[in-house]
């Protein structure tokens, strides 16, 4: 069985999409000869030509805005914004147009647009290279927001995102780009909107997405040694949010801890806590806990592991929740 890195899996998903549908376009800063600063688009320009895969000037609002016009002309744009921190200049085009265009045109002009953004922290990056931008997109009505946590699922989710008729913001956890996973690259399996349990347990439910899923699994391992068996839920998509899975899990374990890299206030943890309370109030044995970054800007490399949720912090939160 072949082993895949997340970068390799994403690259294959783009290649397969370009091959499958001649209307698919891949563009962004440095996606051409260079293959992207993370090599996710490696070799695609050579294979599909400069009309299908091309560099753009350094203009994020322009990149997002061009997606609108290209979609109106019947193309399927898959755009890359180079880093989380550089996706912000495009926010106006994403919020004001990509998210609203289908509604504005009563469904006559859908926006089958995918915006890929290498995101999140943990790579000892410079300022603006470790941001967790999901809240800005999740709160924006009209968008779907997808976050893979492993190579095989990255292939599946990116393929499904490109097929999706609605606009998808696809956030790639940079810190997992080079992790490896064995198996077949296939779009079969759980769709966008279905969370998946990566570990079962009755003691507490750990809810996460992206790079923090790995830390949750580590924490679950540690806690298992203490006799606390945790279920680990990988959300996979933040919009749609799998509230059924969240409710069911909370009803089963009565305890939930949400983990993410974004700052606490109005990070995904807030929505998940609120939804779990709405879905499973009577079953809750303890308040839903949030293990997140503090409400301060992303720090320099030498402090980032103090900023991001640590395995210890996750374990401590679970212990408190179980002991509650």
């Amino acid at each position: 069985m072949a082993e895949h890195t997340m970068v390799g899996a994403l690259n294959q998903a783009l290649r397969d999409a370009l091959a499958a549908d001649p209307r698919t376009l891949v563009f962004g800063e440095d996606v051409g000869e260079l293959g992207g600063v993370f090599r996710v688009t490696e070799g695609l320009q050579r294979e599909f030509g400069r009309d299908r895969v091309f560099n753009t000037p350094v203009a994020e609002a322009g990149i997002a805005g061009m997606c609108v016009g290209l979609a109106l002309a019947g193309w399927r744009p898959v755009a890359e914004l180079q880093f989380d921190g550089f996706s912000y200049p495009a926010l106006d085009q994403v919020i004001s147009h990509i998210a609203k265009y289908r509604t504005r045109t009563r469904g006559r002009a859908p926006m089958p647009v995918v915006i890929r953004i290498p995101s999140f922290g943990g790579i000892r990056g410079k300022e603006h290279h470790g941001e967790s931008p999901e809240t800005y997109y999740v709160h924006t009505a009209g968008l779907k927001v997808v976050v893979p946590s492993s190579p095989l699922d990255a292939y599946r989710l990116l393929s499904l995102s490109i097929d999706d008729p609605d606009p998808v913001v696809f956030l790639e956890p940079k810190s997992r780009y080079w992790t490896k996973e064995e198996g077949e690259l296939t779009a079969e399996g759980p769709g966008i909107g279905s969370a998946r349990a990566l570990r079962n347990g009755e003691g507490c439910t750990l809810v996460s997405y992206g790079a923090m899923v790995g830390r949750c699994l580590e924490a679950a391992e540690v806690l298992s040694g203490e006799g606390v068996e945790c279920e680990v839920l990988d959300l996979r998509s933040l919009v749609p949010l799998d509230v059924d899975a969240l409710g069911e899990a909370a009803r089963r374990t009565g305890r939930a801890v949400v983990v993410h890299e974004a700052p606490r206030t109005l990070g995904m943890g807030a929505e998940i806590a609120a939804r779990i309370m709405e879905e499973a109030f009577d079953s809750l044995e303890a308040p839903v806990a949030r293990v997140t970054a503090p409400d301060v800007p992303y720090p320099p490399a030498s402090l980032e592991q103090r900023y991001l949720p640590s395995v210890d912090a996750i374990c401590a939160a679970v212990r408190r929740t179980v002991a509650y």
Binding site: L25, A61, R102, P165, D166
Partner: protein
Amino acid sequence: MTTRQHMHEEPFLQLIAPDGSPVDDVDVELSTEELRELLRLMVRARRLDRECMALQRQGELTVYPPFEGQEAAQVGSAFALGPDDFVFPSFRELAAAVTRGVDVIEYLQYHRGTWHGGAYDPVSSRFAPLCVPVATQIVHAVGWGFGAKLDGHAACALAYFGDGSTSEGDFHEGANLAAVFEAPVVLFCQNNGWAISVPLEEQVAAPIVRRAEGYGFPGVRVDGNDVLAVYRATREAADRARSGGGPTLIEAITYRIGPHSTADDPTRYRTGDEVEAWRGRDPIERFRRFLVGAGIASEDFATGCEAEAETWVAEVRAHVIAMLPPPEDDLFAFAFERPPSTLLREREGRSGG
């Protein structure tokens, strides 16, 4: 006065003088029928604009942004486009919509407050939905134009925007992307001298048309109240775009005779003299005199246009007043093609109770 200063700072293309006399070779290769049609369209558009002002005052429309004074800029440019070309309007281009044959009733759903962006089909109309965040539509036009180019399809996109919109980053990103991708796009700036209350000289420090050279494509300055000059400049730019010549920036010097919108009080920031001076350059009166003087149309034809506009607008008015709010479920009907389950639940909850 600003716009006049700027207007005279450098030459601009003018074929017909304000008094209606030809100042240059006025042959723009339009048939007598087509020339008359230009007048007909301008008269219709103005009559409709005035009706919309009235409808708003009567509470039948929400805030309305009138275009009186800009008829030649909009009709002349829209008339120059081909059936496959695609218009990306801002929010004041009702005259262009009329010229393009957009369903006016559906368009006015926007101002009626029954549907954002207007309810017409943008794809079959070749007219994008109304776009409120200024300059953002310029980048959409570049994307569409580049898409048409990739399709090897001989069509161009025309983006309308105002003088104030040129201060936005999106104007720049769009212009530079159009230049780099050699996209078939016409960037059509209606310089009406004001951005709400901000005069041109507080908006830019040089004539807008000069920007074009910095991007590497042609810029043309035209008398925006001269419908033939606007037509010729747009026609040339569109032909060049469709035949692979890339983008053109057109700066049409015109003036907004009315308020920025029905919510605006222009007496707070500009003088009546300025407005009067511009009434003297009225685009419709100018073209009427030209047509009559050149024996292309009779006075009767002109009066006929007004009568015809009157009946047409009466119908439009009736339809507008009859427009009902959409059903509540339309709130939910269009946001997604594959809606999240949480949204479906909420939607059912509403229809349930």
